[in-house]
Assembly symmetry: C2
Homo-oligomer: 238 residues x 2
Amino acid sequence: MTDTAAKRPRAVVLLSGGLDSYTAAATAKAEGRQLFALTINYGQRHKRELEAARAVAGALGVARHIELEIDLSRFGGSSLTSASAVPKDRALDPAEIPSTYVPARNTVFLALALSWAEVVEAREIIIGVNAIDYSGYPDCRPEYIRAFEKLASLATRAGVEGHAMTIKTPLLTLSKAEIITLGTSLGLDYAITHSCYDPRPDGSPCRHCDSCRLREDGFRAAGIADPLLLRCASSPLD
Amino acid sequence: MTDTAAKRPRAVVLLSGGLDSYTAAATAKAEGRQLFALTINYGQRHKRELEAARAVAGALGVARHIELEIDLSRFGGSSLTSASAVPKDRALDPAEIPSTYVPARNTVFLALALSWAEVVEAREIIIGVNAIDYSGYPDCRPEYIRAFEKLASLATRAGVEGHAMTIKTPLLTLSKAEIITLGTSLGLDYAITHSCYDPRPDGSPCRHCDSCRLREDGFRAAGIADPLLLRCASSPLD
């Protein structure tokens, strides 16, 4: 680590391998933060995103990248961590919580980020949650994030010593198109990201799950071609 | 599971293998709760407590016991998850947070309990934290627990649907002697528990770490002989 790096404020960023967390991390980097990237292998069916997270961490030039295993499939309760089918082509309804919801996932992830943040003396945790173009998960709402922020300062040695912990959500109120426009203006290569909940055997997106459809709608609304689809163009559509 | 069991309210209990979580769980059982016990193998040096947790789960007759692995030693920052020495015979000072503090451990554990609680439709999480005879960890304080409880309802599908989650801390304001007296009155066999942070190679307690000393002082103040020490009596004192 260079002397310059050592002086930059540190932030732990939750990096899934998707385009939201890449963009959120990139805004923090643009603001001069030194990034500590945390990726959770939680038993998700779309393990392809872990490879994407490694590529994103590399592209961001993070100070460290930890990939931590925790098998949330032991609890069950989600189509993302079980053999039950991921919903396809459903009508997106923010009032309905779909089967892809992983119970308390963001609370588990933020808790782990908080643990690491305390060790590396980071005072910020970056999470790419979004409450506009999203799947209706309760743990993406602004009131949830504020409650975690309050908890974080009470939970830690840093908090006791008067250092508040900030949960930064740079994408919270952006549409997916705005996120994509922002990331593109920062020069991000979205071809290295992965969003699909139920990828095909070759790792390419299914284009029918909520996550694929939110992504496609976002690129369309932004008037930008998704470089991932261009890369996968040889893959037939179904 | 019997019909009667199916009708009892469910609670997820964090079970470490120590006497506090055993007692906390036993009070919930005495109140008619059906218990779902969660033990976390987090890379702690005192793995002996995992065996104790299995024995405690068996003694409580829990509906299910999950032992989940998550390697918090990847983050470091604690003498409980690293090779650095566990403090011995130190003056207990509630204003000082010792090296045995594991950053954000209770937040990680409660988040995992919350995830499971949502899946099994439990509306209570039981945790044996104590803010009287304790090591000064920030995440054992009443204000921390209340903040997590608020978060828990915002974080979950159950919360969105109007089912508040309760974090029950039956030991929060009891002295260690009062906890031991309570558990003894409930007929608990503390010989199956393990408290020591730095057990000897044979698994017996070191009798010098904070946890051993809080336990010994508690039994002494309660006027009860610790059955674990009676069992280990053949082991020489140092």
